[in-house]
Assembly symmetry: C2
């Protein structure tokens, strides 16, 4: 019997993806569900619907609520929270690096990068931020960052973004089960896990 699994689609710059990234592993482990961290870029998806930046910047009242809501949410979860500056961060290098990292270390890399951005206020577009994490994971930073800029990885990230769009992803985080059920938003994580494990 195969274990149930859940795809976790996210953009490193996405605010609500931070609590999901911090929560998903223990929840999935407890439920016996395999998870896949699937970084993609929201930029092209937003552009396709006419947005040149985050809707939280385009719609100030929505943005004000999101920052306050995230602050409350992180306090409830006892997660440190620093508002990224600038927002949104450019997540291109981070997403490419995540795809270049060996699969066995990808979850650790991604959660560490979310923590660097949202708990420590570091910029994820800086090779230094990424390099520090790679070193801690026993990955050579120079080699990995070079790999992240190869055509193979660039193509892989474009393909992932296209696949997300094809599945109907319009924001992040998004959770998709093996049978194609799509759940959008950090507050749908538990429901997505329950769907993945029981198929309902």
């Amino acid at each position: 019997m195969t274990r149930p699994f859940l795809d976790f689609w996210f953009d490193f710059a996405s605010t609500y993806s931070y609590p999901s990234a911090m929560r998903i592993r223990p929840l999935a482990d407890a439920a016996g569900i395999d998870i896949r961290f699937r970084p993609f870029l929201l930029g092209p998806i937003f552009k396709a619907q006419g947005w040149e930046t985050s809707p939280f910047n385009l719609y100030p009242a929505k943005g004000r609520h999101m920052w306050r809501d995230l602050e409350r949410l992180c306090a409830d979860l006892a997660l440190p929270f620093v508002r990224p500056d600038p927002f949104p961060q450019n997540s291109l290098l981070a997403a490419r690096a995540a795809l270049a990292v060996p699969e066995t270390k990808r979850v650790d890399f991604c959660t560490a990068l979310f923590r660097a951005q949202f708990a420590e206020g570091r910029r994820i577009d800086q090779p230094d931020t990424i390099g520090t994490i790679l070193t801690r994971l026993d990955i050579d930073p120079a080699a990995l960052l070079a790999a992240a800029q190869t055509d193979a990885i660039k193509h892989k990230l474009r393909a992932e973004t296209t696949e997300a769009q094809r599945f109907g992803v319009f924001g992040a985080p998004t959770f998709i089960t093996a049978d194609g059920e799509l759940f959008w938003g950090n507050d749908r994580l538990e429901r997505a896990l329950s769907w993945a494990s029981r198929g309902i």
Copy 2:
């Protein structure tokens, strides 16, 4: 000591306001919180940010997720659900009528109207739909519908919508506590009630 209270801001056409309208009274009663049902119009708020219809119509992928999500949500809550046609419904008459209804019957009126639309597939812009509910509440439909079209009520609804906007409301449902804390979305109802009762 005054009882804590929570304002429930909604538009009758708002999909996620339906489960909130069905859930809020028992939850607030259990927590000892007074609630106020405050209908307003999302239309002018959407127009101010350049939208001529619901964002669920403007952004099809977001709309597809919302319908599926609402279907799952209502199933989980054992709430009947019929997709309104057309969507969004014109909620002007309904909102005016709700403000004309005596305060002691307003919650009953509003929940019945949500049920008519989302559980029975009735159109809320039809005086008949509204009239049937008024009759069940021992309110004379002709007199109430006439009152709903007076300048006093029209002005009241405009003032409510302006107040919502001033508070930072950008969507529905929105919950606002006595100390001005704003929570957007059906999935924030429990958190809003807990804030209202404990002030945190």
